[in-house]
């Protein structure tokens, strides 16, 4: 059977793409390992990490806090709307808290982090590569991975859980604002039902674990894309886009995997 040339070429290009992606994944994993191995400098000269913590964490605070507040408020509104039909509006606190702690907190804050801090990291490292700053560093016998990449990586990993906790906390408060202050759900039942339903080990800790995993994934992707970017304007902008897209897919995929492990149903 002789296939027409176009189809053969099409299959070949798909094959190329797949092999390229796998090759790139291998390269990225090796890079990730290198970053971990060369993290000694980040620990010894912690000021480098602190500087990056400022740019990654502190400067993401505004978007995280505002988004958390709004998400919490919307949850309160929607939750009340739906629960009211079943006469269970006092459970709105539980609903807001569980949604935030288990899913929305880790996932949405990770997505926001990837878009804001992750893309900034990629652009910064990519730009340093394009303006030959990384090459200059190498020529000065300073390892750019140890000095530029690793501190940013650890800053991201540390920031992520903190930001997610802030997101969830302010989200719960947002739900409280809407449900109790605005709508008039009983304050006592709001908090007590929540406390009864939310279990520290099951919900809070699992949420934190998710956040840490997301933090590692997003930051690793961000620094890799920056380091691997083509040293041109299009190269850097393409890398930034790839960071956001790949991070988002990774977050959602990992979320599914983690959720299916963690929340199999009690008993």
């Amino acid at each position: 059977m002789v296939l027409p040339k176009r189809i053969v070429a099409g299959i070949q290009s798909v094959g190329h793409r797949v092999i390229d992606s796998i090759w790139r994944l291998g390269y990225a994993s090796r890079f990730f390992l290198l970053t971990l191995i060369k993290s000694g400098t980040s620990l010894r000269r912690f000021t480098l990490v602190i500087r990056e913590l400022y740019f990654t964490g502190v400067q993401s605070l505004i978007i995280i806090l505002m988004s958390g507040l709004f998400v919490g408020m919307v949850l309160g509104l929607q939750g009340f709307e739906t629960l009211q039909r079943y006469g269970a509006e006092s459970a709105v606190g539980t609903m807001v808290a569980l949604s935030l702690l288990r899913e929305l907190g880790p996932v949405v804050s990770a997505l926001l982090f990837a878009s804001r801090a992750g893309s900034a990291m990629t652009a910064e490292i990519g730009l340093m590569k394009a303006t030959e700053q990384l090459a200059a560093m190498e020529m000065m016998a300073v390892d750019p991975i140890a000095r530029v990449v690793a501190p940013r990586f650890w800053a991201g990993v540390i920031s992520m859980p903190l930001l997610a906790a802030l997101f969830s906390a302010i989200g719960v408060y947002g739900g409280y604002l809407v449900a109790v202050i605005l709508i008039g759900v009983d304050e006592g039942s709001f908090w007590s039902q929540m406390q009864n339903a939310v279990d520290f080990h099951y919900d809070v800790v699992n949420g934190i674990i998710k956040t840490c995993v997301f933090g590692i994934a997003v930051t690793a992707i961000a620094v890799f894309e920056g380091y691997d970017a083509a040293p041109t304007a299009e190269g850097v902008s393409g890398a930034t886009t790839r960071t956001v897209v790949t991070s988002s897919l990774a977050i959602l995929g990992l979320d599914f995997i983690l959720t299916s492990f963690m929340f199999r149903g009690m008993g």
Partner: protein
Amino acid sequence: MSESLIEIEGLNFSYGQRPVLKGIDMMMGRGKVIAIMGGSGSGKTTLLRLIGGAVRPTSGYVKVAGEVVHKLKRDELFRMRRKMSMLFQFGALFTDLSVFDNVAFQMREHTDLPESMIRDLVLMKLQAVGLRGAHELMPGQLSGGMARRVALARSIALDPLLIMYDEPFTGLDPISLTVIGNLIRRLTDTLGMTSIIVTHDVQESLKIVDYVYFIADGVIAAHGTPDEVRRSVAPFVHQFVHGEEDGPVSFHYPARPYAQDLKLEGGFA
């Protein structure tokens, strides 16, 4: 021949299948300023990267101070790199550090000197390039010429044996051109270094260099002292030095016959 800091023999380098440098032989003496000239994409920058050990040759070798560069192990290479500096085309200053911190960078990373001593050294280096007063500025606030001078100060921070300049004259105004040219000559003589300038600015470089190599199509097309080069009748050298429009490097990109493109011959398409 112990006068030579750099010996290059039979150097070949290819990017994948494409050969960039073919059979290069060069000898560069200590304390000299040497220019490597050629058209864009002729492999000049690759040559610098081979000397610095950033890439490995396909065959042949580069010897710096008697050691074969691509045979060095990682820490030996790092040690060697501290003896050489590279000045990148647009300075490549670290944009998040001030001028002072840029020049101090290598001192802080590689030495245990106290801050007071580093401060004095940095100001001395900046004084040598005439920018001591600018030490608190950020790279974004500098003009092109100033940025390159700061990069030069940064390159001489640890008193290297060798500095490689990648297109130091590109995009500068006439005053800055003279300043940079004179600085390169003066620093080489004062510090006893060797300077390799990769450039295609003929006029400025011929004023200050001791020896010139021309690279075309990956091989050394010609070499000699500035006077020899100016007097040369070799076609490529002549075209390059005198800036002629057409010669060995042709004006027209290879194309089909003009008439055929305009569809004047051979009937209708």
